[in-house]
Amino acid sequence: MFTNILIYFVVIPLVMLGLLALCRDVKQIRAVAVVGSLGLIGLSVYVLLEYLGIRAAGNEDPMLFVDSWSWFAPLNIHLAVGVDGISIAMLLLSSIIVFAGSFASWTIAQPKEFFLWLILLSTGVFGFFISIDLFTMFMFYEVALIPMYLLIGVWGSGNKNYSAMKLTLMLMGGSAFLMLGLIGIYYHSAPEGAPLTWNLLEIVDNAAISHGWQSFLFPMTFVGFGVLGAMFPFHTWSPDGHASAPTAVSMLHAGVLMKLGGYGCFRVAIYTMPQAAHELSWIFLILTGISVVYGAFCACVKTDLKYINAYSSVSHCGLVLFAILMLNETAMTGAIMQMLSHGLMTALFFALIGMIYGRTHTREITQMGGMMQILPYLSVCYVIAGMASLGLPGLSGFVAEMTIFVGSFKAGMADYLAGDGSLRLVFTIIACCSIVITAVYILRVVGKLLFGPVYDNHHRSLTDATWWERLSTATLIVCVACIGCFPNFFNNLINFTFKPAIFSVLGIN
């Protein structure tokens, strides 16, 4: 079992949990968190390199490092692992954000308990991304969700009980749909007479889910994951949840957890049920298309920094699901890039907001101003994050959005020319409009918060970032710039998934 490299993505956090339980003081806790998350980064990079090596050698399997161990034989439940480029990208993203998040919560109260829950959450996240067994996947999904309640409820701020409850309940509601969908998939996973399976690859190979069942199970699964992906109208947990969550939790939640939604939508809903995806995508296309502009418009008038970013996340994550539904190679690649990009830059945003809030004790942009003069480092970082968010070339947002737009425009035009209606085309153009609205709200915040005269003279005595804050933000900025400057590397990494014959049924070239 321990010969498979992937299993260590779960083992390392578990070991960290054990060590954290033994820690006596805050220094040891920090050491465990930092060393552990560095270990995870190292592991992801190692897996990435191995993966590239194997691919370079000509291996064309849909997943690599595949392994499976039974843990509940009567229901065929396995701990099945395997990764492709998309999972590796997600693993890399998660480990970086866990690393940055550890630094962002350097001085949190009750560090031991906090990190215990945080690392438990990460265990779920990593487990989710390496699993290819639907049941195990779902289990890790839940492991990732539940700690959120305590993390927000205990370490949060503001109306935290309400937010924590709302977030947990809405996500659990999504899980209910999801579970129904997954069980449905299980019972139709194999042709008549063959043993049923939870294994994604086998399900895809069998392609045994009948058409009628697909059109029932696809919405279930998609909505289930879509709730976590903040799909309109199931997004309202996100503003409240993010606003109340402590910094590192916001980072992890917006940066990684919301990606679980997008990843799941792709990996489970579309991967296993392509026909239904083809036929029913229009419903969700409308919803996600609305999310994109709706979130952006709402962000334009909010005055609380975290709310603004939460709505911005709704918009950006909407774009992820939107692109996935285009069922087009380029757009889907763009969706995954957008997940990476949004994960990093939102984490950066929330880290910065947490740091500013920790100093000024307010998140109202009307109560602040001229931060550039007082906190130059944080302000510059904020501007960079903003620029990434509004899609400045050279930072990650641009490449992701452009890939999505090129892909979805192609899908839309193809539909239009084939006489299949202009829905995709219209929504693509609407989604394109979001780049303008994004610019509006980002520049509004940047102008009010960072520029202009100092609003509150008490703020003049604030000190700029400490070394751990600098490290946390610098890591994220470097990653954002890396994706922005060398997109083709990530493009090729992700793109490979869309090559296999699995996707021929979607009409993807």
């Binding site: 737009f405 425009f409 780049i435 520029f451 005269p453 083709n488």
Partner: protein, 669 residues
């Protein structure tokens, strides 16, 4: 040609940006400034070398045996691969206009770098706060602009297009503690962003039909009769051929998709080049430091729109409609901006509107260019005007900067009579004014004259219209000139120094640019730049009739300005009172800003965003909350059933049991 020098042209400014941005705070102000200037100087030399090499080396890669200038891709590196054919590459594209733009950009940029060494410090020689940042941003801008002009494909252009937008944003908002600067920068970014939306969609449409982003494929026209011009091998399936085949079928709202694509791309150009109705950001952008206005908002970035249309000119030629739109937008903007410029008080605003007007000239010139009229004279004229305008407008802005630096105000009302105190500035400014007014032998005369001849070839209406605008140009420029340098000077308060010419770092660029403005008209531009690469004799198309008429118009306008503004008199007041509405509208720029304010704040913010946010909080969130409330209420409702009273449970149990038992008994009976 090896790729080393082109790479360096792009890499040095980028490196300077990163270096000054990260390490600038650690070094002294002066060192940062000198490093930036030296870096730019190096780029200047390299760019001149490249352009010289391209035009004069006679290399068969650059010029065919028949003497046609060829497009040459120095290098092209894949940056992002969407599909097999849709690839964004980063490369270096050499053709006549990009080589010319390299020269323009590096020249102006170097002048501005040098000039800023003097400008960005106060009278005691103390450098302004953020001096290093200023040089870092200037380097970023130079990098982006250079990247834009050497783009090998339309997406590379879009990338750098966005980057120049961002660096323009950063530079306009350089004085970020001033609210007006912040909102001006925001406005500039958002307006151009909106235009870029059109650009983006245009690119998407174009690339969908042609399956390529590359300029070489896009601008090669494989049609009989034109093929010999473009040396395109008709046997290979070509991207644009696809456009022809498919655009014949797909129409969209009465126009072919190609027209739509071109108009949308032009919309991007309208935003960057401040064409009406997307011009409103440019006057406000004058909040930035004056050297920035000279570099970005007069000479280089704002002509990006013209450059874009010129770059895609063969495509525009295919669709008559799109060129007509370019012409009409240009003509209206030119007139509008000239009118408004006559009624502005802030000297930088006057220059800004004059910039808009001059760029509109270039647009019109492109719009009227047809191969059948003097082998596309308009195209060459447009590029020529771009070149000369960059020089004299930078000169005017830098001169205005010197004035502002000396006086400390942007209003001409605070200036008057400065010719005695600031002779260098005065003479260079005068040269700039003469150039822009189109007086022989300054550069503006030649370029503007060719634009007017091209217009004349196309349509008499356009010709008359543009001549009128040219007259207005001469009028408002000399109005400005007289108001600044003539009239009675203000009394100098006790203890203040009289205004005086600035340090050599500021004067030298003025003198150099003035010299260029004097002689640039004699460059045989047609030898270098023409729409299809074929050199032709410049003077062969020179129409002395048109030239003399335009000269006459300019002189008349100058005389009128002299009469009205040479000395303080009541004529302007009378004129103003005679047509109060006209003055009012011109002074308020035809209330465009108010209209935009209304649309953005009243309609978009208050009409869409706020209701949506309310809807989100109360309807969507309210629904979700009401699920929770409903659950709570329902549980309140059934909670009494679980009273904890065992007897109650037994009662219910008994009733149930009795019912069941009763049923059983009945069955037994």
């Amino acid at each position: 040609m090896s790729a080393t020098i082109p790479v360096l042209i792009l890499a040095i400014p980028l490196f300077m940006f990163i270096f000054l941005g990260l390490a600038g705070k650690k070094m002294s102000h002066l060192l940062a400034g000198i490093l930036g200037t030296l870096g730019m100087g190096t780029v200047l030399v390299l760019a001149y070398y490249t352009a010289f090499h391209y035009f004069f080396s006679g290399d068969p890669a650059f010029i065919s045996e028949a003497g046609e200038r060829l497009q040459y891709i120095v290098f092209n590196q894949t940056w992002l691969q969407f599909t097999d054919r849709l690839v964004i590459s980063l490369g270096f594209f050499l053709d006549p206009i990009s080589a010319m733009m390299l020269v323009v950009i590096t020249t102006i940029s170097f002048m501005v770098h040098l000039y800023s060494l003097g400008y960005m410090r106060d009278h005691h020689g103390v450098f302004e706060k953020g001096f290093q940042r200023f040089y870092a941003f200037l380097s970023l801008f130079s990098f982006s602009m250079l990247g834009l002009v050497v783009a090998t494909n339309i997406f590379q252009m879009y990338i750098f297009w966005e980057l120049v937008g961002a660096s323009s944003y950063l530079l306009i908002g350089f004085y970020y503690t001033k609210n007006s600067a912040v909102s001006a920068s925001k406005k500039a970014f958002i307006v151009t962003r909106f235009a870029d939306l059109g650009f983006l969609i245009g690119i998407l449409v174009l690339s969908f039909y042609t399956g390529t982003f590359d300029f070489t494929s896009l601008t090669s026209v494989p049609v009989e009769g034109m093929a010999n011009v473009y040396h395109v091998d008709l046997s290979t399936p070509n991207a644009v051929l696809g456009v022809f085949q498919s655009s014949a079928a797909p129409m969209f709202m009465g126009a072919s998709v190609l027209t739509w694509a071109l108009v949308l791309i032009f919309m991007g150009g309208m935003g960057k080049s401040a064409m009406m109705p997307l011009h409103i950001w440019l006057p406000d952008a004058m909040e930035g430091p004056t050297p920035v206005s000279a570099l970005i908002h007069a000479a280089t970035m704002v002509v990006a729109g013209v450059y874009l249309v010129a770059r895609l000119f063969p495509l525009y030629l295919m669709e008559e409609t799109s060129l007509v739109i370019v012409t009409v937008v240009g003509a209206i903007t030119a007139f509008y901006a000239a009118m408004v410029a006559c009624a502005q008080i802030d000297i930088k605003r006057v220059l800004a509107f004059s910039t808009i007007s001059q760029i509109a000239f270039m647009m019109v010139s492109l719009g009227v260019a047809r191969p059948e009229f003097h082998e596309g004279l308009g195209y060459m004229a447009s590029m020529f005007h771009l070149f000369t305008h960059a020089m004299f407008k930078a000169l005017l802005f830098l001169g205005a900067g010197a004035l502002i630096h000396a006086i400390g105000s942007n209003d001409y009302t605070a200036m008057h009579g400065l010719r005695k105190y600031m002779p260098v500035t005065h003479w260079t400014f005068l040269i700039g004014c003469l150039a822009i007014a189109g007086i022989i032998p300054f550069s503006g005369f030649f370029s503007k004259d060719e634009i007017l001849s091209a217009c004349g070839n196309y349509s008499p209406l356009v010709y008359v219209w543009m001549s009128m605008v040219a007259g207005l140009t001469a009028f408002y420029m000399f109005r400005l000139y007289y108001l600044i340098f003539w009239w009675k000077e203000h009394k100098i308060p006790e203890g203040h120094h009289a205004p005086h010419d600035q340090a050599w770092t500021m004067s030298l660029p003025l003198i150099i640019l003035a010299l260029i403005s004097c002689v640039a008209g004699f460059i045989p531009f047609g030898k270098f730049v023409s729409w299809n690469g074929e050199p032709y004799d410049f003077m062969a198309h020179f129409d002395w009739g048109v030239a003399s008429i335009s000269l006459l118009v300019a002189v008349l306008a100058i005389i009128l300005a002299t009469v009205m503004y040479r000395k303080e008199n009541s004529l302007p007041e009378k004129f103003k009172n005679a047509l109060p509405a006209l003055w009012d509208w011109c002074h308020h720029r035809f209330y465009w800003d108010e209209l935009y304010m209304f649309i953005t704040h009243k309609i978009i913010f208050n009409g869409i965003c706020r209701p949506l946010a309310w809807f989100d909080r109360h309807i969507i969130d309210g629904t979700m909350d009401s699920f929770a409330i409903l659950t709570n209420k329902a549980s309140e409702l059934i909670r009494p059933l679980q009273s904890g009273q065992v007897q109650m449970y037994v009662w219910i149990y008994i009733i149930g049991a009795l019912l069941l038992g009763g049923v059983t008994v009945l069955c037994l009976i």
